[in-house]
């Protein structure tokens, strides 16, 4: 345990100029279980994808057994004994267990496969892993935990010494998790090094020898697990106090600016009802796939709805296209900034005026006016770019998001729907965006914030709607806006008493 099997030195990763990993230096020892913790977007997956050859590092070095190596593909990683157990398994469901275990490493007798040898070797391996899995079972008949077992056996056949597991327990039931813990012990005894990503602090504490904590692309700390408690882990992951980053809650009026009734889309949304008040921030919480984005898109005319009425300022309105929505001063920032939000090979002014272009046309486009307005937004939002004519592809995620906000602000919205407004954005920009939301509500704009970050929903919202499987499960206000309540509703453990 004293010899580092892998030495990571100053690893930097940039995506189109945006640095997502800042000089990570870390030793990984033989036979240890190293936990890697961090919030979404902290850089955990990026780091492990570099180690396993899926991404190529921008700079830095990796040594294995003291030798510098270059890992450019999964095949390279395999050669160095590194295996990643993916969350989505790469097994062929029509083949049986031993065929999958030896996939790509088939034992042959002449030209033919030596099935009996493979079968007996697989059997032996599975025994060693203390499972009673039958090598002849078809993959499609296996449970998720058993499939995971096959993936691990497959990695061991490849002589893997370093196993990377990305949230392996999220797909397992409690009982299966116990079996998995036993398996990890067995692997440790075989001298296999395990790198383990998880969000479950308790589990990490129980399973790991050491913990590496990442935040915003920096390695914050590496601790022996006995030296750190769960509170410290959480603090290091978040790295700030909640109240620092969020402004005081908006003081809204009581006028209802948006009323949505009986909104349904077959198979997606079921009878969505809610109201939005003037100057209010309404949070939408829920798990991924709960129907929050679909609700927003249906309101904006981006999705056909099967039923549902929308009233704006008490007047029923018909919104069938996004142009209708823009006319009614609705705005929607999609969660998919690059795929649905901005044109990456357009510069800043062209992106900002894309929706509001008609107000810049007097016969021809008034390029000067466009530029002046864009310059105003660049100042107002402190958008950092080499030049106003830089293509959006050359801006960081946070600055892109600011351009995206400017683009919709230029349509002068009264109601702004923000879908995951701070995804993949650094803490400072997050804070700027939160304060901007607050300044909007002061001007009487009403804001809906859809977010999978509970903290964000709780920190920003006057009220929170919790969705699950296409339905609104509950509405929370005031002190009842807390993590526990939201999770109860989001997981379906609690439903709002319907009056």
């Amino acid at each position: 345990m004293n010899v580092p099997v892998m030495q990571i030195r100053g690893i930097v990763k940039e995506f189109s100029g945006v640095r997502v990993l800042h000089k990570i230096t870390l030793d990984i020892f033989s036979g240890e279980v190293l936990g890697v913790l961090g919030e979404n977007g902290a850089g955990k997956s990026t780091l492990l994808k570099i180690i396993s050859g899926i991404y190529t590092k921008t700079s830095g070095s990796i040594k294995i057994d003291g030798e510098e190596v270059s890992i450019h593909s999964s095949a390279d990683a395999k050669r160095f004994g590194i295996a990643m157990i993916p969350q989505e398994f790469n097994l062929i469901s029509s083949l049986n267990v031993f065929e999958n275990i030896f996939l790509g490493n088939e034992i042959k007798k002449g030209f033919l496969l030596d099935k009996s040898l493979m079968r007996s070797k697989a059997n032996q391996l599975l025994k060693e892993l203390q499972t009673d899995l039958n090598p002849d079972s078809l993959i499609e008949d296996l449970s998720v935990a058993e499939k995971q077992m096959v993936e691990i056996a497959k990695a061991l056949v490849n002589e893997s010494r370093i196993l990377i597991m990305d949230e392996p327990t999220t797909v397992l039931t409690d009982h299966e998790v116990d079996i998995f813990f036993g398996l990890v012990e067995t692997l440790k005894q075989r001298g296999v090094t395990i790198i383990f990503i998880s969000h479950k602090l308790k589990e990490v504490k129980h399973l790991c020898d050491r913990l590496a904590i990442l935040r915003d692309g920096h390695l914050i700390s590496v601790d022996d697990v006995s030296d750190i408690n769960e509170e410290d882990m959480a603090r290091k992951m978040v790295g700030r106090e909640l109240n620092q980053i969020y402004p005081k809650l908006a003081e809204h009026k009581e006028d209802v600016v948006l009323k949505v009734s009986n909104l349904s889309i077959n198979g997606l949304l079921n009878n969505i009802n809610f109201t939005l008040k003037k100057g209010e921030v309404l949070g939408f919480a829920g798990l991924i796939g709960a129907g929050r984005t679909e609700t927003a898109e249906a309101i904006m005319g981006l999705r056909e709805k099967d039923s549902g009425d929308v009233e704006i300022n008490g007047q029923p309105v018909e919104i069938n296209t996004i142009s209708d929505a823009v006319q009614h001063n609705l705005a929607y920032l999609s969660e998919d900034r690059q795929g649905k939000g901005l044109i990456m090979n357009f510069d800043i002014p062209k992106n900002i005026t894309l929706i509001s272009l008609s107000s810049y046309v007097r016969g021809l486009i008034q390029h000067n006016k466009e530029k002046t307005v864009a310059q105003d937004y660049v100042q107002r939002f402190d958008i950092k770019a080499a030049s106003i004519n830089s293509n959006l592809a050359n801006l960081s995620g946070g600055n892109q998001q600011k351009v995206y906000l400017s683009k919709w602000m230029d349509t002068q919205p009264n109601i702004l729907i923000l879908d995951e407004p701070t995804r993949g954005i650094d803490v400072n920009t997050k804070k700027e965006i939160y304060h901007f939301i607050r300044s909007l509500t002061d001007q009487g704009v009403s804001v809906i914030v859809i977010s999978s970050e509970l903290e964000e929903v709780m920190g920003l919202s006057n009220r929170v709607m919790v969705m699950r499987a296409g339905e609104i499960m509950g509405e929370l206000t005031g002190d009842s806006i807390n993590e526990k309540e939201i999770m109860y509703y989001a997981a379906g453990l609690k439903t709002m008493a319907r009056a």
Binding site: S323, V326, Y332, S334, K340, M344, N345, F346
Partner: protein, 324 residues
């Protein structure tokens, strides 16, 4: 000393993005080379001939630029030239002898081009057929219709004024060249200074973002095919007038390739999203000069296709490097 002066110049040149000016530089080099290689090249008569030749496919290429920037392609333009040409001559012979008939033929040629372009656009946007497939089909359909209505025989105009349009000069420059240049200016303004042009670029860059930005994506895409069709209409009537006839089997043959080549040589990305009209004009002229030089230098006509192909490849490779 020299280095210290040179390095800011190099950075400035890098900022200018050499790839963007590549077509212009290529044209200059080609002109220099050609004037050295052949003493006939710079003769005014040769130059006007080259420009006239260029204008027919060049006008089509101007329309094609919109289609390609929006992310599509139009393979039917060559066959459409023949179909519109044949119909224009049928109209002029039907209406009679006089300027009135010429005006009718010109107007209906342009209108017919617009209609055929609109048919392409409808199949692509309403039927949701990929433009490559849809226009491959209409390419075959238009050619076949041309052969059928003309009974595969050459259509000759009986109007005494008709040939004046394609053959006439203003200040020693042929009418088709004027029309090519005027259209280029108009299309440039449309592409760079109108909301429609901006929308074309947006649709070609990322149609999803465009539709989420309240742009009527299908309408914009449809209009680009209509513009291509209108341009074909103009080109077809000029060509028919120049020859005073249309040969249904040969007219416009492979024009789609020349038009696409001109657009690509001019620096427009085949993947859509960006491009310029002036680039296309230069691309068309480059192709014209290459054809001309191959003739002047007495190189076998059978090799001309190869040279053209190589030029297209080089253009695409340069573009590809610029993108990286």
């Amino acid at each position: 000393m020299i280095m210290s002066q040179l390095s800011p110049m190099i950075t400035r040149m890098k900022r200018l993005n050499i790839a963007a000016y590549a077509p212009f530089i290529a044209l200059l080099l080609l002109i220099v080379f050609s004037s050295i290689a052949s003493e006939h090249f710079l003769m005014p008569r040769n130059i006007t001939n080259v420009l006239r030749q260029v204008s027919y496919t060049g006008i089509i290429a101007l329309g094609m630029t919109f289609v390609i920037i929006a992310g599509g392609i139009d393979l039917s333009v060559g066959s459409m030239v023949a179909l519109v040409g044949v119909l224009a001559i049928m109209i002029i012979n039907g209406v009679g002898d006089g300027w009135w008939a010429v005006a009718m033929a010109v107007a209906s040629a342009i209108a017919l081009g617009g209609v055929f372009g609109a048919i392409n656009g409808l199949i692509i946007t309403r039927g949701k057929v990929a433009s490559f497939i849809a226009t491959l089909a209409t390419m075959s359909i238009f050619r076949s219709m041309t052969l059928y209505i003309s009974d595969a025989g050459e259509m000759v105009s009986e109007n005494q004024h008709f040939s004046d349009i394609g053959g006439g000069y203003l200040w020693a420059i042929p009418y088709p060249v004027w029309i090519f240049l005027l259209l280029a200016v108009a299309y440039h303004i449309l592409l760079k200074h109108s909301a429609f042009g901006r929308h074309v670029c947006a649709v070609g860059s990322n149609s999803k973002v465009a539709s989420y930005s309240a742009i009527k994506v299908r309408w914009v895409y449809f209009l680009t095919f209509m513009i291509a069709g209108l341009s074909v209409g103009v080109s077809a009537v000029l060509l028919a007038s120049r020859l005073n006839s249309v040969s249904p089997g040969d007219a416009g043959l492979f024009y789609e390739l020349d038009a696409i080549a001109a657009v690509v040589i001019g620096g427009t990305a085949l993947s859509g999203g960006k491009g310029t009209i002036w680039g296309t004009v230069i691309g068309a002229i480059i192709l014209g000069i290459i054809n001309n030089m191959l003739n002047l230098m007495g190189i076998s006509p059978y090799l001309q296709g190869m040279v053209k192909g190589l030029v297209i490849l080089i253009a695409v490779l340069v573009q590809f490097k610029g993108d990286r």
